[in-house]
Symmetry: C2
Subunit: 393 residues, 2 copies
């Protein structure tokens, strides 16, 4: 029989214990975890079922599918109502206050769970899960570093994939293929329904300025209004900036990295803005030590951009993004968020993608994105690839 846990037992125990500490602090008796990303965090696998975490004692993994797994504290169920039977059998007190991921869990599902625990007040577990997951363990950081290496290896092959007169889509498809053969899992996890992306985006020329439904600096019109983001069939011509922002999910943990390519030489404004992005990343990575407020990083970026007279183009032009960086890990939109009203404070083990980008109308988008680990000494990049604009000629 296959083992249920797909991460070291101590990892699972530590993660659960960190959640339990916050449950106790917030006087929540137990948590019922149902989100796939959170279940993967707790067990190292995605399964159909729930994780029941009492504030004290062992967590129970309630599994519906896949069949035939073995391990400690695994209980097979057919439906969530079976959870109650197990708690009764094991003599575990029913919680009087129950935490669930209310930012994600559908209303009807919460109602169904409430009927199983009719005496429980419900509280929102979402921020606890975000907080715990925002501090990565050494084990998780190794997985992120491995993703970063493979991500960089994929990007290093991009110049070989370009052929004159390609469209943005054709170029992206060749990069997708290379990325997949390098081990990219393709799909990457996004919390909630705030964005929908296939693999990532390659955007060039005027398309970088097309507004999207999502909170992105560069939208891109996309190939179809059902997935209105990314490349739109533009033929790549000399003088365009080609922004490549494809996901780095090679290990279940995603790095986020963007680089700019060009055919021919870019104009002075684009080059200046690209160097400004590199400067912002350099300064913010030195500034980003534990205890620093996330919003202070944002504010410093704005200062630099104003100093260089590039505010109109920063983080979008016709439509602007509201942040310059975000936590990454199992999902692409984790904490901390580097935004003006963020309340997050940097801690050792945060993993943050910084993406100070500029949209240059008619040319494309420029700037870099790297993924950094927060250490006592500042933010250390794990997406090590050349940062200058890379010529495809």
């Amino acid at each position: 029989m296959e083992q249920f846990l797909q991460i070291p037992s101590i990892e699972s125990k530590n993660r659960i214990s960190n959640i339990q500490q916050l449950l106790i602090n917030q006087c929540i008796d137990a948590a019922l975890v149902s989100d796939n990303a959170n279940k993967f965090y707790l067990s190292g696998r995605v399964f159909n079922g729930y994780v029941f975490i009492p504030a004290q004692g062992d967590a129970i993994f309630f599994v519906r599918r896949p069949v035939e797994l073995s391990g400690d504290n695994i209980v097979y169920i057919n439906k969530p109502e079976n959870i109650a039977d197990t708690l009764l059998q094991k003599g575990i007190d029913f919680p009087l206050s129950l935490g669930m991921e209310l930012d994600l869990m559908p209303y009807a599902m919460v109602q169904r769970i409430c009927k199983i625990f009719p005496n429980a007040n419900i509280s929102n577990l979402s921020s606890i899960m975000r907080q715990v997951r925002s501090v990565k363990s050494e084990y998780e950081i190794e997985l992120l570093k491995l993703s970063g290496k493979k991500h960089a290896a994929t990007y290093s092959q991009i110049p070989n994939l370009y052929r004159p007169n390609m469209t943005d889509l054709e170029f992206q498809v060749e990069i997708e293929r290379t990325s997949r053969l390098e081990g990219c899992l393709g799909q990457f996890r996004i919390s909630g329904d705030s964005m929908e992306i296939y693999m990532g985006n390659l955007i060039c020329g005027e398309n970088a300025d097309a507004p999207s439904p999502y909170d992105f600096a560069m939208g891109g019109a996309g190939m179809h209004p059902s997935l209105p983001v990314g490349c739109n069939g533009t033929t790549i011509t000399p003088g365009m900036a080609i922004m490549v922002d494809l996901n780095g999910n090679y290990t279940g943990y995603t790095t986020d990295m963007s680089r700019v390519f060009s055919v021919g030489t870019l104009d002075g404004l684009s080059t200046k803005a690209h160097e400004c992005s590199r400067r912002i990343c350099r300064e913010l990575s030195l500034m980003g030590t534990p205890g620093v407020e996330a919003k202070a990083l944002y504010n410093r970026a704005i200062e630099i951009v104003n100093e260089e007279g590039l505010a109109d183009l920063f983080m979008g032009h016709r439509q602007k993004a509201s942040f310059i960086g975000h936590g990454v890990g199992i999902e692409i939109n984790e904490s901390p968020v580097i935004a003006p009203r963020s309340r997050d404070i940097l801690a050792v083990g945060n993993v943050i993608a910084l993406e100070p980008k500029f949209v240059i109308p008619g040319i494309g988008a420029v700037g870099i994105e790297n993924t950094y680990v927060v250490t006592e000494q500042g933010m250390v990049s794990i997406t090590l690839a050349p940062e200058e604009i890379i010529s495809l000629d």
Copy 2:
């Protein structure tokens, strides 16, 4: 300025009017639609915002992003609370009963909306949306037919992509590339979080019998426990059945089609089971006229399988799927569902994927999947490609 509506105005009006009819029948004053698939259904585009549909009168499209769209009944908002201001300005009565997609909408979001309409009872709009979307218009059927043609064109190229000693992943990546160049949007829509798939699956050999977290006949272990479905790195060898089930989202409307390929000749049991699948599809497509119960199709399939002595292998082996077919359209899991306890009744305009498949331990999965349109004369396939096992030699 770009037009908001990306479908003919009459399509949008008819779809809204069909929903209004059901709102009136169920005594619901208004609906607030927030799910991306449903918003795409009503407008032909994905946007960040809401559609407010009063039981009588014009719907209002509340848009947050993208910026700069124009059209009738479009109101830009910064946050959902602005909806109330607009209703007041327009003199529209606040609903006393409000329908929302409670099967999908996160609990916290529903709570936030409830504060905007404190006097409204809430009811579940999910089944109304499923019901309306299950009957496709001629316009939608044309989009599905176009997807079916492109889907078949992609599959026709599969034999050219095979090279000896390929792994299942390498083979799938070449098909993904071909599919993307043929116009596949890559991502396809799945309602809820019941499954997670990247592009679709190619499964061969013993891997077809690996149980998955999802309600699938064939799971496949996947390349990583964070995405435990599909190919697992198996080297393709003679005698294996190679099941290709890649998505057909070429138009925002997805066809679903599976075909089996082989290197060398398959054994007698596999061939027999494959022919049984074709027989089931033939019989059920003739039987599937308007007014027929979905469960009657399921029951007839089971009869055929029992008659042929193949029940142990039908719809999975170590783990079985609970259905043999499902509606498709904007999403891959629509109504009607062809399952033993389904209450759905076939209607003209339903579009249904039938996928009676068999898992042959050690060999792979066999059987076909086609997408059918329900007509007065029965179910007509729109995924027209050879159905026999296709040799790669």
